[in-house]
Structure formats: structure tokens, C-alpha cells
């Protein structure tokens, strides 16, 4: 039976050692909040550093083609580098140009005709980031569509004048339209804008758990393998502390470190949200509801515990830091893979046949708990949290049962 005074004494030693390792503390506290902000900043900065180049080639040089070219320039220039050319071959051969908008000869004539449709051609260079070039294409199409609407309105007005009738240009051009969608909540009530944003915030929370799995694994590797390699373990194992208490304290200490990382992770999330709020409007701050944050803290702690409990039996029996790190990386990768899929896939909506086997992995419960909260399915939230806790406790119990002093001590295979 573990003694609380021995557990307290050893935990005191663990935390004292940890807090004296200033670099380790700084990395645990600073890295998670910076990671989220850095991801956003790096993405934006890189996109700014290498903006997409759009070349508008006006082969028509008529009044209407010039107006379109001007519109393209004024709408696209704030986001992209827009250049103009009158020679298509030069534009196509210029490797800096990513997307070419060709206004063909006869465009102005066709655009004003009542019989012929005028076309604009888009040429995309292969090898450019798909999402980036597709977005540019979509923006070009929007400008062309606005130009087309403008022309059609003047054409309809001209026809109405000939026919001597009153016409609403929109009713002729787009007689049937879809109204702006209305959002509803889980129970059919009208959703507020915060409700629309909540799944997005939940996804960020799920993704952010990936940042805390690694510090916990690193700590437990150092805690077990480090003790053995620094030659401090054998004397402890021979003392009344014993293996169960040793592993229990290592687990608690790693959980505390992981929780510290989780708290700073949360701080990063708030910073990220505030940055987002300043860009999108203050309403987003209302999205971060305290229940979701509290659940995130609980899930983070249990995820750390699950990581440690899965790693422990393997780590304790590996020969050194290198092989222990490989094992921990494998386990962390499994976690990160699930958290990334939680960013894009709605586990809550997965068919039972698919979700069932997935739930054998403790991390799936971490994702499910947060997603179920967004859907207001609180019994599933409780179920996932309880399962995650139970799995962690069972795995830790198994770890302390399958390991014995000799296995932990002699994993390094040093005999004399």
C-alpha cells in the first residue's frame, strides 16, 4: 500500500528538481502559447512574402476590356500582385506569373452584343499551392461576375426601353435566388453568431491538445529512463519507496507538468482568439464559454494521464532514452493524428461501425468529449470523460503490476 508521506517526499523532490531546471520550465510554459500564435503568424507572413502574381492580358484593348482590366486590378491588387500585359506568350513564359486572365480579341464587341456571349479565359500554372490558386481563381470569377452583372443590367435596361416596359434587371437576370441561410441551434432554436463559431473554437481546442502530449511524454521518459541513466534509481528501488510509489509519483509529476503546459496552451488560445476578435469583431470573445474551457482543462489532464499510462510499461523496459523517445514519439503521433482528424472530422457524427473501433484508442474519447459538448450531448461528454479516466487508471494499474524491480532496473542489461 503506497504511503502518503513517502509519496509526498518523493513528489517534493520531483517538483523541486523540475522547478530548478529553469530552461525546462520556460519551454513548458512558453512553447504551447507561442506555437498557436506562431502557426498563424508564420502562415500569414509566408503568404505575404510570396504573394500570388496575376497577369491580366488584354488582347482586345477595347473600352469594355479596359474597364474589366481596371476592375480586376483595383479589386485584386490589395491581396495579389497584379500585372498587365498585351502579349500572352510573354505572360505564359514568365515563371513569376501564377495565374493569367486572358481578355480575348473581340471581347468588347461580344460583351455588348445581344446574340453572343463574351468569354474571359483563366490559365493557372501547375505546382502552385492548390488552395491559394483556387482562391485567386474564385476572386477573379467574382470580379468578372460583377462586371457581367453590370453589363447585363445596362442590356436589360436597353431592351426594356425598346419594349417600353418597366423591368427590374435582377428579376430578369436571376429570377430565382436562395436567401441567406439561417442558423439554428442543437434544439432547433435560432442560433446566435457565437453558436456558429463554437465548433470552430472547439476544433482549435482539440488541435491544441496535441501541444501538451509531447511535454508529458518527455517528462516521463526523463523521469524513468533518466533516473536509471543518471544512476539514481537503484538506491531508490532498494529503499522503502518501492516501484509502485516510484511510478505513481512519476505519473503525478508528469501530469502536473502536462497540466502546466495545458494552462499555458489555454493562454495561447485566448491570445489567438483576441487576435482573431480584433480582426473579425468582438463577438468571438463570447464564443469561448467557461464550460468548454473547463472541459478542455479536464480532457487535457486526462489525455496527459492516458499518454503516460500507455507509455509507462514500454518506456520502463526500454534500454535507453533513444528507444524510449521512439516509443513515446509513436504514441504521441497516434494522439496528434487523432487530434488533427478531430480538427476536420466530426467524430460525433461518425457511424457507429467506424467510431466503435476508434474508441479503443483513449485519445478518441478526448476528441469526442469536446465535440459532444458542442452538440449539447452532455451524457456523452460525461461518458467520454469517465471512459478516459477509467482507461488511464486501468493502464497505470496494469503498468505497476506487469513491471517488477528487476525488469525496470536491468532493462539496461548491465551484469556483473
Amino acid at each position: 500500500m503506497p504511503s502518503t508521506s513517502r509519496l509526498r517526499a518523493f513528489l517534493w523532490k520531483e517538483l523541486r528538481e523540475y522547478t530548478r531546471d529553469v530552461k525546462a520550465v520556460v519551454i513548458t510554459v512558453v512553447v504551447p502559447p507561442l506555437a498557436l500564435i506562431a502557426i498563424g503568424l508564420v502562415t500569414v507572413l509566408l503568404a505575404v512574402q510570396r504573394p500570388l502574381v496575376i497577369c491580366v492580358v488584354d488582347l482586345d484593348a477595347g473600352d469594355y476590356s479596359k474597364t474589366l482590366a481596371q476592375m480586376l486590378h483595383s479589386y485584386l491588387a490589395p491581396v495579389y500582385v497584379v500585372v498587365e500585359s498585351s502579349d500572352l506568350t510573354t505572360a505564359l513564359r514568365d515563371p513569376r506569373v501564377d495565374l493569367v486572365v486572358v481578355i480575348p480579341e473581340g471581347f468588347s464587341r461580344n460583351a455588348t452584343s445581344f446574340e453572343i456571349v463574351a468569354f474571359v479565359r483563366i490559365i493557372k500554372r501547375a505546382g502552385i499551392s492548390g488552395e491559394q490558386i483556387d482562391m485567386a481563381e474564385s476572386r477573379v470569377k467574382s470580379v468578372v461576375s460583377a462586371f457581367s452583372a453590370m453589363l447585363s443590367e445596362s442590356k436589360i435596361a436597353k431592351l426594356a426601353e425598346i419594349a417600353n416596359i418597366t423591368v427590374n434587371a435582377r428579376a430578369v437576370r436571376d429570377p430565382v435566388q436562395v436567401e441567406a441561410p439561417v442558423y439554428i441551434g442543437v434544439h432547433g432554436e435560432p442560433a446566435r453568431v457565437e453558436d456558429v463559431w463554437r465548433p470552430f473554437i472547439a476544433r482549435i481546442l482539440i488541435l491544441s491538445i496535441s501541444f501538451i502530449v509531447t511535454p508529458a511524454s518527455t517528462y516521463i521518459i526523463d523521469g524513468v529512463i533518466g533516473e536509471r541513466e543518471r544512476k539514481t534509481m537503484e538506491m531508490l528501488l532498494a529503499s522503502p519507496l518501492g516501484l509502485t510509489e516510484f511510478l505513481l509519483v512519476k505519473t503525478i509529476a508528469a501530469s502536473i507538468v502536462g497540466l502546466l503546459a495545458a494552462l499555458s496552451d489555454l493562454l495561447g488560445l485566448y491570445t489567438y482568439t483576441i487576435v482573431l476578435a480584433s480582426l473579425l469583431g468582438g463577438f468571438i470573445l463570447g464564443v469561448v464559454d467557461p464550460g468548454l474551457i473547463a472541459l478542455h482543462a479536464v480532457v487535457s489532464f486526462l489525455t496527459i494521464l492516458a499518454t503516460i499510462s500507455i507509455s509507462l510499461p514500454f518506456i520502463s523496459r526500454t534500454k535507453g532514452v533513444r528507444s524510449a523517445s521512439s516509443v513515446a514519439t509513436l504514441i504521441s503521433t497516434l494522439g496528434v493524428a487523432l487530434f488533427i482528424s478531430g480538427w476536420v472530422v466530426d467524430f460525433y457524427k461518425l457511424p457507429r461501425g467506424v467510431l466503435g473501433p476508434l474508441l479503443l484508442v483513449p485519445y478518441a474519447h478526448s476528441v469526442l468529449a469536446i465535440q459532444a459538448y458542442v452538440y449539447g450531448d452532455y451524457s456523452l461528454v460525461a461518458g467520454s470523460v469517465i471512459t478516459l479516466s477509467a482507461l488511464s487508471v486501468v493502464l497505470i494499474y496494469v503498468s505497476t503490476r506487469v513491471l517488477d524491480r528487476e525488469k525496470v532496473l536491468l532493462a539496461q542489461t548491465y551484469y556483473e
Partner: protein, 244 residues
């Protein structure tokens, strides 16, 4: 068995195809300082680990303080103090914090900490992080951690390994003083014959996992017609090497 605190009978231990112990038999009485001498890889560390209850013997009977050290580990570790050969300290804790930590683990009070501080002979340096200590200072602190609780059986694996002359003398004196004051059973493994002669009342020569000869340093020297224990050891092991 009366008066015998450490008892081993036909103890075997294999690690895969390697035979670490090939039938060790040993009896050490209360108050005795027993020296375990043998070449590298002869099984000294494995034997001490088995006596400390850290490693399970494959066969044979082991009793320390009247109990099986592996099966009754919780009871036996209350009576033993074990210093591993290559043990180390926590570099980010002070010497005093080490004494405090082990005192709490053993359930001891301030008096034990004072005794440990006295045994370590580190004085004011106990307030410094052990990462700043020399090898000799760390070894003295570790020995103090083992002996501060006055164990009935002290198992010391090469306590002066890697130490300079002054540090070795300090460690040896501490062991000698402790053995005299407490009448504890002390088993010391060492390569240093001078140390063994100085400390031990009885010596066991271990070779290839078997104790091949036993006696007081003087008895062994006489038996092998040698002027000291070192010569006796070389002759004894030399004869065996020639056989195998």
C-alpha cells in the same frame, strides 16, 4: 542459523545464456564485515542485488534478517541499506535536501538527518547543489544516505570506486566506525585489497559466479603462501584461470 544475518545457499542467476551466479553459498554473522573480492564480471554486483532484494535468484535459498529478500521485500528493506557501485546524486538538489528526502522516505526525523550530515563530513557544503560536488563528495553523501538509518545489514558495492586516496580513506573510516558502533553486518565488494584487509574480518573470493574460497585476510594469505591478500587473490584466481 543463530547469529547469521545474511544467508545464501546454492544461489543461481542467469541472464539469457550468461551465468552470473553458479551456486553461491554464503553465511555472514551479525557484527561481521565481509569482503567480496573477485575480478570484473565475477558476480559481485548480482549477488549484492539479490541480497538487496532487487533481483530474483533463479534457484537457491536467500535469507537476510531471517527473510526472503525478494518475496518479502517490504519487510527486508526495512533492515538493509544498499549502496550500488555506480550510484549517483540528484545534481539539482543540495546535499541537505538528499538527507531530508531519504529521511522522509525512511520515516526518520531530524536526528537521523543530523547523523547523516555527520557521517557525510560535508559540513557547509551540504547546502550546495550536489552538481557542484566532486565524485568523492557525492560518494560520501551516498554512503551517509545508506547508513543514516542505521541498517542492520549494509551492502556496499565498491564504496570507494573511482575515489582518490583521501576520499577513499574518509569513506573507509566511515564504514569502519559505523560497523564498530552499530554491530551491523556489512558486506563490502571491492577491487582494492588494501581496503578489504583494513575493513574486513572475513573475505570471500568470488570467481565465475561461485565463492571459491573464504577466510580472514590472514588465513587466505597463509593458505596461498602469500605476503598479503592481493598476492593471495592473484594466486587463487590464477590457479582457477589455468584450470578453466
Amino acid at each position: 542459523m543463530e547469529g547469521i544475518t545474511v544467508y545464501a545457499e546454492g544461489v543461481y542467476k542467469e541472464y539469457g545464456s550468461i551465468v552470473a551466479l553458479g551456486g553461491v553459498t554464503l553465511r555472514v554473522a551479525r557484527g561481521e564485515v565481509y569482503g567480496l573480492v573477485g575480478p570484473n564480471g565475477s558476480g559481485k554486483t548480482t549477488l549484492l542485488r539479490i541480497l538487496a532484494g532487487l533481483v530474483k535468484p533463479a534457484r537457491g535459498v536467500v535469507r537476510v534478517c531471517g527473510r526472503d529478500p525478494y518475496r518479502e521485500f517490504n519487510e527486508v528493506r526495512e533492515c538493509i541499506g544498499y549502496l550500488p557501485e555506480d550510484a549517483n546524486t540528484y545534481s539539482l538538489l543540495t546535499g541537505y535536501e538528499h538527507l531530508k528526502l531519504y529521511a522522509r522516505i525512511y520515516g526518520l526525523g531530524e536526528e537521523a538527518i543530523k547523523y547523516g550530515a555527520e557521517l557525510s563530513r560535508l559540513g557547509e557544503r551540504l547546502r550546495d547543489l550536489t552538481g557542484t560536488y566532486s565524485h568523492g563528495m557525492r560518494r560520501r553523501l551516498l554512503l551517509a544516505l545508506v547508513l543514516m538509518r542505521r541498517p542492520r545489514v549494509a551492502l556496499l558495492d565498491e564504496p570507494t570506486s573511482g575515489l582518490d586516496v583521501y576520499a577513499s580513506v574518509a569513506v573507509r573510516n566511515t564504514i569502519k566506525k559505523y560497523a564498530q558502533e552499530t554491530e551491523a553486518t556489512v558486506i563490502v565488494s571491492s577491487h582494492n585489497m588494501l581496503e578489504i584487509e583494513y575493513l574486513c574480518t572475513r573475505v570471500g573470493l568470488i570467481y565465475r559466479g561461485v565463492i571459491v574460497d573464504e577466510g580472514s585476510p590472514r588465513e587466505l594469505a597463509e593458505k596461498y603462501n602469500a605476503s598479503n591478500l592481493e598476492e593471495a587473490f592473484v594466486r587463487a584466481i590464477g590457479e582457477l584461470s589455468a584450470k578453466y
